[in-house]
């Protein structure tokens, strides 16, 4: 099976004394977005970090294209992008430099492509300012530009709309819709429902502890 499918089977994760994930199972295929909801501490971030291989589940497994991701983490990582709570940016560098050094280790891209993604997220005007001088929402937009620039099929997003204005929240929805339309898939932990077309949307409710 080599089609783009991500599935988790019976995932159990303990954080110290807390049994955070209790037998979580999910399937996301190309063109679908899995929206993770649940109260604070329900394990949304833990699940995302487990999927990208940064937390080791005590039981169960995560499969990408039908193979356990632990068999070959580097090639799984090459096909996924993870955006956490904080935009992973260097404060001393400009937005453009950040993208160059962040995404540049993954793939080559032309300057025109960089300009295109910056314009798409509405960050074109401040891309040459040091990130230190940007607002939280502007930083988030630069991070979204990085997500687009990676050009990978699987997006793992933790609260992607944090700090964004209403227009920015619609932008995230539109970006996910375009990503799904291109055959990509996404998994997003959210507190407020995403502004995503209903067609590809699937939901997973994680319980509190």
């Amino acid at each position: 099976m080599s089609d783009t499918t991500l599935n988790g089977e019976n995932v159990h994760l303990w954080r110290g004394e807390r049994h955070v994930l209790r037998g979580v199972a999910f399937t996301v295929s190309g063109g679908e977005c899995l929206q993770l909801t649940g109260p604070n501490g329900a394990g949304k971030t833990s699940l995302l970090r487990t999927v990208c291989g940064m937390a080791y589940p005590e039981a169960g497994r995560i499969c990408w294209r039908g193979r356990d991701v632990r068999e070959d983490l580097p090639s799984f990582h090459a096909e996924m992008a993870y955006l956490g709570h904080e935009p992973p940016l260097k404060m001393e560098l400009t937005g453009r430099e950040n993208l160059h050094y962040w995404v540049g280790v993954r793939r080559r891209f032309a300057a025109a492509e960089l300009d295109a993604v910056l314009a798409r997220v509405g960050a074109g005007r401040w891309a040459d300012r040091p990130v230190r001088t940007l607002s939280a929402g502007q930083k988030r937009r630069v991070a979204l530009a990085g997500l687009l620039l990676m050009a990978v099929p699987l997006w793992l997003l933790d609260e992607p709309t944090t700090n964004l204005d209403v227009e920015g929240q619609h932008l995230v929805g539109a970006l996910i819709d375009e990503h799904l339309a291109a055959g990509g898939l996404a998994m997003a932990a959210v507190h407020h429902p995403l502004a995503v077309a209903e067609r590809g949307l699937r939901r997973l409710e994680l319980g509190g502890v």
Partner: protein, 244 residues
């Protein structure tokens, strides 16, 4: 939508994307990034150098200004000061990147973390070890060391600081999850640096006496090569554990 058309299609199931830059290009990019970052906050650069200059000038003030007597302790002073000042900057080697999440992104980039960390360590050496090696002969002159010993001092401190940066990379990676790791980092790193101190100080002493110091220098080089082989692997493993 039209602006996005330059972004390639996502669904192609290529295992290794054709557009991925080679390992050398990635390492170079990392090196360039760290140098650029360092020059944008230069205070961190100057700190170890100022420390080194201060320590080596304190000894003449405390002991004696007589150059003939200073010459006897010069090798010890130079090396102890060099090791301590290279420790000073180690704490920041991976810490900033771990805190702002960029290290995590590199760990998830699908590229070998070993190569990326080796490049970061190389940048660290260029920013702290190399300047130390360059000012060590100056400090040596102020301690009454004759001019014929200066090439030996330059060579030995150069090799010694390479090993220090590599040792420090492992230490910094291991203490990534610890708050205020400075003290722990010195406890971890300094004992391992003792061979560097012994061979380095010995080479310097021989150079000052005008005797051949090639053997000690070779041993220093061997330590550096051993470090280059093992340290990036160990650092990468430690970073992966600490990011969890």
């Amino acid at each position: 939508m039209s602006e996005l058309s330059v972004v390639p299609s996502l669904v192609s199931p290529e295992r290794v994307p054709r557009s991925a830059p080679g390992a050398a290009a990635v390492a170079w990019m990392m090196l360039e990034r760290d140098l650029k970052l360092a020059f944008r906050k230069a205070s961190q650069l100057v700190q170890p150098l100022a420390f080194f200059a201060m320590v080596t000038t304190l000894f003449p003030l405390a002991i004696t200004p007589e150059l003939t007597r200073l010459r006897h302790i010069a090798s010890g002073v130079l090396w102890a000061a060099a090791l301590l000042s290279s420790l000073l900057a180690l704490e920041f080697l991976f810490r900033d990147d771990a805190q702002d999440g960029t290290l995590e992104q590199y760990a998830l980039s699908g590229r070998a973390l070993t190569g990326l960390l080796a490049a970061k360590t190389a940048a660290h050496w260029l920013l702290t070890g190399l300047p130390l090696a360059l000012i060590a002969p100056l400090a040596a002159v102020s301690l009454g060391v004759p001019a014929h010993a200066l090439p030996g001092i330059l060579a030995s401190v150069t090799l010694g600081t390479v090993t220090m940066s590599l040792l420090g990379a492992v230490g910094a990676a291991l203490t990534l999850g610890v708050r205020r790791a400075g003290a722990l980092l010195s406890l971890l790193t300094l004992p391992l640096a003792i061979p560097v101190l012994i061979f380095g100080a010995h080479a310097t002493q021989l150079a000052i006496r005008g005797e051949p110091y090639g053997a000690s220098l070779t041993l220093l080089a061997a330590l550096a090569v051993f470090g280059m082989t093992v340290a990036p692997l160990a650092a990468a493993a430690a970073v992966r554990i600490n990011l969890e």
